[in-house]
């Protein structure tokens, strides 16, 4: 999932987190996670002072953003000392699958 400024939102993106009025969880909830964005919905968010949203995958690439391969390499480095241990091997697998899923659909894409 990725948190993006509302100005980068495009119809077709899927919300990964609930959206609240005024960008605060104390504000009124305006749209639930899992919803697909439409132009009308984006306009409504603008009117409700929503500044940023969190969407599924990694649709917006900026210079300096790390790719899935970068994330996986860093994960391997963190587990370098303990990957041979059975419980840590399970945990490594859990994180690897999580990262692949979180970046799903965008893994081949590189920063422009």
């Amino acid at each position: 999932m990725q948190k993006i400024p509302l100005s980068f939102a495009k119809s077709g993106m899927i919300l990964a987190r609930d959206v609240f009025r005024g960008d605060t969880p104390v504000g009124m909830p305006v749209c639930g996670k899992g919803s697909e964005l439409t132009n009308a919905l984006i306009t409504r968010f603008e009117q409700m002072d929503v500044k940023s949203i969190t969407v599924e995958g990694h649709p917006v690439w900026e210079e300096g953003d790390r790719s899935l391969n970068d994330y996986l390499r860093e994960l391997d480095n963190r587990f370098a000392k303990t990957i041979q241990e059975p419980h840590n091997a399970v945990l490594h697998c859990v994180y690897k699958e999580y990262l692949i899923k979180a970046m799903e659909g965008y893994s081949g894409q590189q920063p422009e």
Binding site: A16, R78, K81, T82, E85, N88, V90, L91, H92
Partner: protein
């Protein structure tokens, strides 16, 4: 070297130069022990310290605790209970010590607090707030090392970077003790209850915890998860061994870890935003 190590250990554990807790916390403890004191009385004591009150409310609304609608101290006392407010007062005072000088450690601690809270809720354990507090405070020993001997802290960092070892190993080489022992010792000298001091002392060695093994196992797992995630900076970049005893006590399996990691990573976005907002204020 041996005498040097013990001199350093002595100077770190010298009670005369230990940081002290705000008076309000001691007053709150004695008031909450007495049957005749009222919630209003306690709220008044806490509210008299404006900085502490602000910190408590900010922390109550942080992802580590996640109470979103607490806006006043008396509100917190009634909604959350005296024990939770005591935990909040304690953690906010201690966190104040690391907030500005050790941003990486502060983020690591916030992350472990949030992970511990999440694990405790998921496993339906009692006293989730106490567990979150233990998570926030588990590396307090590192703050003390840095606060009292910044040269030693630099030497530890140097050994970690040049030899790619765990900071725990470097601490033992330099000090003949480690942050967990120092933290546990500090918790005892502040008269913190066992349910906080044991997870602090034994989060790297769950088996040694006698009375609070489940809480200690939760903090151990929370620490391992946050290190796996690469969130914050606790001194080195390596994931520690996930101990057998913790795996068994918490009845872990791949499916449970899958669910925990998914929820935790979602929560860590909030933690990052919270930390960013706090530091920019």
């Amino acid at each position: 070297m041996a005498s040097n190590q013990s001199d350093l250990k002595k100077s770190i554990m010298d009670t005369k130069t230990l940081p002290t807790l705000p008076n309000v916390i001691h007053k709150l403890n004695s008031l909450s022990d007495s049957d005749s004191s009222s919630v209003q009385e306690m709220a008044k004591i806490v509210s008299s310290d404006q900085v502490l009150s602000a910190r408590i409310l900010r922390l109550a609304n942080s992802p580590s605790y996640g109470f979103h609608r607490v806006s006043t101290i008396s509100n917190a006392m009634i909604l959350l209970g005296v024990n939770v407010v005591k935990s909040l007062a304690l953690s906010s005072s201690i966190i104040a010590m690391m907030e500005h000088d050790s941003i990486g450690l502060w983020e690591h601690s916030l992350g472990v607090g949030s992970a511990a809270n999440l694990i405790a809720h998921r496993l339906k354990l009692p006293e989730c707030e106490e567990i979150a507090t233990a998570g926030l405070l588990h590396d307090i020993g590192k703050v003390i090392i840095k606060l009292k001997c910044s040269d030693v802290d630099k030497e530890i960092q140097l050994r970690v970077t040049t030899r790619q070892i765990y900071s725990l190993e470097a601490e033992r080489e330099v000090l003949d003790t480690d942050h967990a022992e120092i933290g546990g010792w500090l918790a005892k000298s502040w008269f913190l209850p066992d349910k906080l001091s044991e997870p602090i002392s034994f989060h790297h060695d769950v088996e040694k915890s006698c009375n609070n093994r489940v809480k200690t196992a939760v903090i151990h797992l929370a620490d391992v998860l946050i290190k796996s995630s690469g969130f914050g900076d606790s001194g080195d970049d390596f994931v520690p061994s996930l101990q057998n005893i913790a795996w068994d006590i918490l009845k872990l399996d791949k499916q449970l870890l899958d669910e925990l990691v998914y929820e935790l990573e979602d929560k860590l976005i909030e933690v990052k935003n919270f930390s960013f907002e706090m530091l920019s204020n």
